[in-house]
Symmetry: C2
Subunit: 217 residues, 2 copies
C-alpha cells in the first residue's frame, strides 16, 4: 500500500476515534513528525478527508478538526435513519440465510460486549471495542443491499456521526436501552418485517434527536 493510503487510513482512524480535540488545527508541517513524510503528502490526505466531512478546510486558513455541533449531530442522525432504514429494507428483500447468519453473529458479538460493560459507560479501549462492534452490526444490517453507493454514503455519514459522538463524551454513546433495541432490530430483520424494522431503527437512533441538557455543545 502506498504511503499516501496508509496515512489516509491512519488519520481517518484517529479522527473517528476522537484522538484529536474538536477545533484543533491539523497542520501538515506538524503532523509530519507523526508519519515521517512530507507536508505535501499530508495536505493531499487532509483534502481527501475534508471531502468526507472528517476535516474542515478553509482556503488559505488550513485544516481543522470539526467542532462539536448539536445541529450537525441532529442532521447526521436523520441521515442514518434514512440510509439504514432503506438499506435494511433492501437487505431484507435481497439477503439470504448467509446474511441472517452474519447479522446474528454481529449481534451476538455486540451484545456480548454490551453485557460485559453493563450499565457503566465504557471508556478508552473498551469504548473503541464497543464502537467497532456497533458499526459492524449496523453495517451488516445494510450489508445485503445491492447498492454500493448507499453503503459508501452510509459509511461516510456514520464516520462523521461517530466523530461527533465519541468526542462529545462517552456517557452519551452508550445507553442501556441499546441492548434491547439492537435485539429488536435483529428480530425484525429475521422476521423480514420492513415497516417494523424501519420503525425500530428510527426509535433506536432517535434518542440522538433530542439530547436535552448536559451536552457540552
Amino acid at each position: 500500500m502506498s504511503k499516501d493510503n496508509e496515512i489516509l487510513v491512519s488519520l481517518r482512524g484517529r479522527l473517528v476515534n476522537g484522538q484529536f480535540d474538536p477545533g484543533q488545527r491539523l497542520q501538515p508541517e506538524k503532523l509530519r513528525t507523526d508519519y515521517g513524510c512530507s507536508a505535501s503528502t499530508l495536505r493531499e490526505t487532509l483534502f481527501r478527508l475534508s471531502t468526507e466531512g472528517l476535516v474542515d478546510f478553509q482556503e488559505q486558513r488550513g485544516f481543522r478538526v470539526p467542532r462539536l455541533s448539536r445541529k450537525l449531530q441532529h442532521e447526521l442522525t436523520l441521515m442514518r435513519i434514512l440510509l439504514e432504514g432503506e438499506g435494511a429494507c433492501l437487505s431484507i428483500r435481497l439477503g439470504g440465510v448467509a446474511w441472517e447468519a452474519r447479522l446474528s453473529a454481529a449481534h451476538h458479538q455486540l451484545s456480548h460486549i454490551e453485557m460485559r460493560v453493563g450499565s457503566e459507560p465504557p471508556a478508552g479501549h473498551i469504548l473503541e471495542l464497543w464502537s467497532n462492534a456497533e458499526l459492524e452490526f449496523h453495517q451488516t444490517l445494510i450489508g445485503a443491499c445491492d447498492s454500493d453507493t448507499l453503503k459508501r454514503t452510509h459509511r461516510i455519514i456514520y464516520n462523521q456521526f461517530r466523530q461527533q459522538l465519541i468526542t462529545t463524551g462517552q456517557k452519551f454513546v452508550f445507553i442501556p436501552e441499546n441492548v434491547e433495541q439492537h435485539k429488536a432490530i435483529l428480530d425484525a430483520a429475521l422476521d423480514r418485517d420492513e415497516p417494523l424494522i424501519r420503525r425500530r431503527i428510527h426509535d433506536h437512533l432517535a434518542r440522538n434527536l433530542m439530547q436535552p441538557e448536559a451536552m457540552p455543545v
Copy 2:
C-alpha cells in the same frame, strides 16, 4: 480564490458536463497544459474529485473518468428518490412563502426551456442549459430543509448522476413527460402534500430504474 480551488470547480464542471470520455485517463502531467499549473496541484484536485465519485482512482494506476454503468445509474436514482423525497417533505414542513416563490420561479424557468426544446432531445449548449435548470429546480425543492448534510449529499449524488446520464447519450436525458411531471411535483409542493410529493418524485425519477434496450452500456 486559490488556483487549487479554481481548478477544482473547473474540472468538476467539465466532468459533470460530459466533456471527457468515460474511461479516459486523467493524467496530471497531461492536464497541466489546460491549467498552467504543476502536476502536484492537479493530483490534489483529482483526489478531491475521486472522493466525490466523479473520478476513479486506483493506486499506482492513476485517475480515470468513471465508466458508464447501468448498475451505478440504478443506485444513484434510488439515492435521488430517497434524498429528494425526504428533503422535499422537510421543505414542505419548514419552507415559507419565500420557498414557494423560489420553487415557482425555478419551475417557470425550467418549463420555459422545456417548451422551447419541444420533443426534440436537446444537445450541446441547450442541453447544458436545460440540465442546469433541472438541477436548480430539484435543488430548490429540497432547499428549505434545514439539513446541510442532506443537501451536500444530494449534490454529490446528483453530480454523479448527471455525469453518467449526460455521457450516456442525450436522448435519455430528456423525455417529454418531464414537463407534466415537474408540474405535478410543483403542485404537490404548493399543496404541502407530503405522501403525494414522495410518490411523484419517485414516479419522475423511476424511469431511470429501467431503461431497457438501446443503452450503450
